[in-house]
């Protein structure tokens, strides 16, 4: 399974990650190696009857919370940790004009 330069760019876009131009070939190669390695999972026959038996540890059913206004505590508010905060709002640059 060969991952191309363009594949990396497409995936990087989905993940909102910058990958430097000169790093692209290396990243593509490493991803290819990792994906080749994990591809041995396809040696296993696919489930034929359509029902996939999967496993996730933990409680079988979700435990619910009662509908009460009782937030888990915050020692201080967003103004203290936000990189840009003005008049009570988080501030971010606008989405570009030509996306």
């Amino acid at each position: 399974m060969s991952v191309s330069r363009d594949d990396v760019l497409r995936i990087a876009q989905l993940a909102e990650l910058d990958v430097e131009e000169d790093a692209l070939p290396d990243v593509a190669e490493q991803m290819s190696r990792i994906l080749d390695y994990v591809a041995q999972l396809s040696a296993m026959p696919a489930s034929t009857n359509g029902t996939v038996k999967t496993f996730v540890p933990g409680p079988d059913a979700i435990r619910f919370r009662p509908d009460e206004v009782a937030p888990w505590p915050l020692a201080f508010g967003p103004a203290a940790f936000a990189p840009a905060f003005k008049e009570g709002f988080f501030v971010v640059p606008k989405l570009g004009q030509f996306e």
Partner: protein
């Protein structure tokens, strides 16, 4: 419009469930608070925070599903819809994908064009709302308020309305669904035409 083409509008309605607290945390859902004051580690998407579902929200969603004649599934799964947006603090929305709460209902309404229509409800699922992005408060910047982030919603995916006026009639019926926790301020609705995309996410409670 070219001959032989029919406008089909897929109806997707989001209805807020009238609970006191949010879908996955104990913050208040009360309207009108100063920005970013009804927030906690969970709905802020802080590192290490975890969602814990609101039982009352599920009960209201089930009630809504039953009132639409849906089949309510005893087992349904929360899944993540991953995308990036500033009012989506975790970078994903907890919603339902492959195994929603309910499917196969009917929404009956009177269409001005066609008389009584029994439109199918394809599915009804539970999800959390995103926060609010305000684009005109600061120049060249977006202001984000996360008070609304995490508020419980149900999404009702309806059968296609054949003409725009059908959609309006259907919406009016939605309004009469008794999904309010109590009397008072009406449930907010937002209608969106079309369907949302996005990659699959890991199927896990959080």
């Amino acid at each position: 419009m070219a001959a032989g083409w029919e406008t089909v509008i897929g109806l997707e309605t989001h209805v807020q469930l009238r609970t006191k607290s949010k879908m996955f945390c104990g913050c208040s859902t009360a309207f009108g608070a100063p920005p970013n004051t009804q927030v906690c580690p969970v709905c802020l998407g802080l590192p290490g925070a975890l969602p814990v579902p609101n039982g009352a929200a599920i009960r209201l969603a089930v009630r809504g599903a039953l009132s639409l004649g849906c089949t309510v599934h005893p087992k349904s799964i929360f899944a993540r819809k991953n995308y990036f947006y500033p009012d989506l603090p975790k970078g994903y929305q907890i919603s339902q994908h492959d195994q929603p709460l309910a499917t196969n209902g009917t929404l009956s309404f009177v269409s001005p064009e066609r008389g009584i229509v029994n439109a199918t409800i394809v599915r009804l699922h539970v999800e959390e709302d995103a926060g609010k992005s305000i684009h005109d408060r600061f120049p060249k910047a977006t202001a984000v308020d996360l008070n609304r982030s995490g508020v419980p919603l149900i999404e009702i995916v309806g059968g296609s309305a054949r003409v725009p006026t059908d959609a309006q009639a259907a919406a009016r019926v939605h309004r009469h669904l008794r999904l309010r926790h109590g009397e008072g301020q009406s449930a907010r609705r937002r209608q969106r035409v079309g369907a949302a995309g996005g990659c699959h996410g890991p199927q896990h409670a959080d």
